[in-house]
Amino acid sequence: MSHADVLSIFSGALTTLLLSIAGIALGLPLGLGLALARWAKVPLLNQVVAVYVSLLRATPLITLVLLIFFALPTAGISVGPVTAGLIALVLNTAAFNCEVWRAALLDLPKDQIEAAQSVGMGQALRFRRIVLPQVWRTALPGLINEMSQLVKLTPVLAVVGVVDITRAAVRIGAQTYEPLPPFLVALAIYIPIVYALVSVQRWVERRTTLREAAA
């Protein structure tokens, strides 16, 4: 394995990181939106979201990304490998995030909402001041769990030509006929990425606990 080979795995790591961050940044609020539509029992949207979640949770990511990559062009929409990969990631993670958010929303005591209503808070203010601050803390462990899954789902996107950490390692193995060294380097890169996510969770949890103790 040459110096350039290690560099190409790191450039794969950049792809993995960017796709994961974009997937999280889009999938997190989308999941919350879907969960709110179900929680508030918005007519029609409630059923559509329920079907969407069931459908997406039943679809393997690899099938979804192949469908998006090969089926969209026949409808006249041309998508590149990274775009197709990102769409598939977001659609997939939003469905799982939706259920995490929804569990947290269902867990929120009704009297909290009623108390907010009784002091005349509007819907938007209620959501910002009462619902979200409590809900996101309940949802956090589940969300971080889903995020670390998402990082490790990115190699699936290689099937449409996205070169992530794993694919970069596979390519080097195919060229040198020695697949083990590149895989070890790949593993050594995944570990800190997921560890960073977990550290963020711990930090946020510690900070909120300290704040509550101070209040």
Partner: protein
């Protein structure tokens, strides 16, 4: 609170799936006129099929990638290339996402039902490769009952009956067949003794044995003649004609034989067209 709305989950599901089903039936590849009009052709190549195509230091290289370079000089339109792992390649051509697969697609009877092939680009008879230290395999008849590794969806799967017949003549039979998503994994498993031999084209195996002579050893042919070629969607005849003219020109100007010598170790005399019987 019970929902009393008329939208059942199943109804919504059906409404969502219908357009997807309609899409799938409308695929079409661009013909030569359309390619000329839009100004570019989309080419798909593989990333881990040394020596045909592989990636070295982050750059695509190998026989077919150098042929793509020659095509860039030859074609009056732009060549856009995408690099994909094998499982998506033929699907991409069949759905019309790519105009042509410039990779070593072995010509088989089955594949001619959905694809049209250009002139062959190499001679690729199938051989077996074994571990160098495995003394139990000396000739074809020793393959009796041994475990073989091949790439899934590879052309050799359809030619297994040939090896079966060779073994049956000696009173033996084919052992377990293990399929891998690509050949590097098959080689690795052979080195790890999970399989006893791997079958691939003589070109790929020569490259493997040259790179790791301490681990692998080339065996004998296990199939009759076999040729790899480039593939376009079935019925895209004017594009096929254009590509065959390109191949003929590269043979005539000496570029193709030189590249064959560089990547495969020898230049081949190849038929202009070939109809696979298997």
């Amino acid at each position: 609170m019970p929902t009393t709305l008329p939208f059942s989950r199943r109804g919504v599901l059906a409404a969502l799936l219908l357009p997807i089903a309609l899409w799938a039936t409308t695929a079409q590849a661009a013909n030569l006129d359309e390619i000329k009009k839009r100004g570019y052709m989309t080419v798909v190549t593989e990333d881990d099929f040394r020596p045909f195509e592989f990636v070295k230091d982050g750059k695509p290289t190998g026989f077919n990638n150098e042929m793509v370079d020659a095509l860039r000089k030859y074609a009056p339109f732009e060549i856009r290339q995408e690099i994909l792992p094998w499982p998506g390649i033929l699907a991409g051509v069949a759905t019309g996402k790519y105009d042509i697969a410039i990779t070593a697609v072995l010509m088989t009877k089955e594949r001619t039902q959905s694809l049209d092939f250009t002139s062959p680009i190499a001679d690729a008879t199938h051989y077996y490769v074994k571990r160098k230290d495995d003394s139990s395999i000396k000739s074809i008849k020793d393959l009796n009952g041994k475990t073989v590794g091949v790439q899934t969806g590879s052309a050799f799967l359809s030619r297994l009956p040939e090896l079966q017949a060779m073994l049956a003549k000696e009173g033996g039979k084919l052992g377990k067949v293990v399929e891998y998503s690509s050949y590097p994994e098959a080689y690795q498993d052979l080195a790890l003794k999970r399989t006893d031999f791997v079958v691939n084209t003589v070109i790929n195996l020569k490259a493997l044995v040259a790179e790791r002579p301490n681990v692998f050893e080339l065996g004998q042919p296990v199939s009759g003649n076999s040729y790899p070629a480039w593939a376009v969607k079935k019925g895209n005849t004017d594009l096929l004609k254009f590509m065959n003219e390109f191949i003929a020109a590269q043979k005539a100007n000496g570029v193709m034989p030189a590249l064959q010598k560089k990547w495969f170790g020898e230049a081949f005399t190849l038929p202009v067209s070939y109809t696979p019987e298997q």
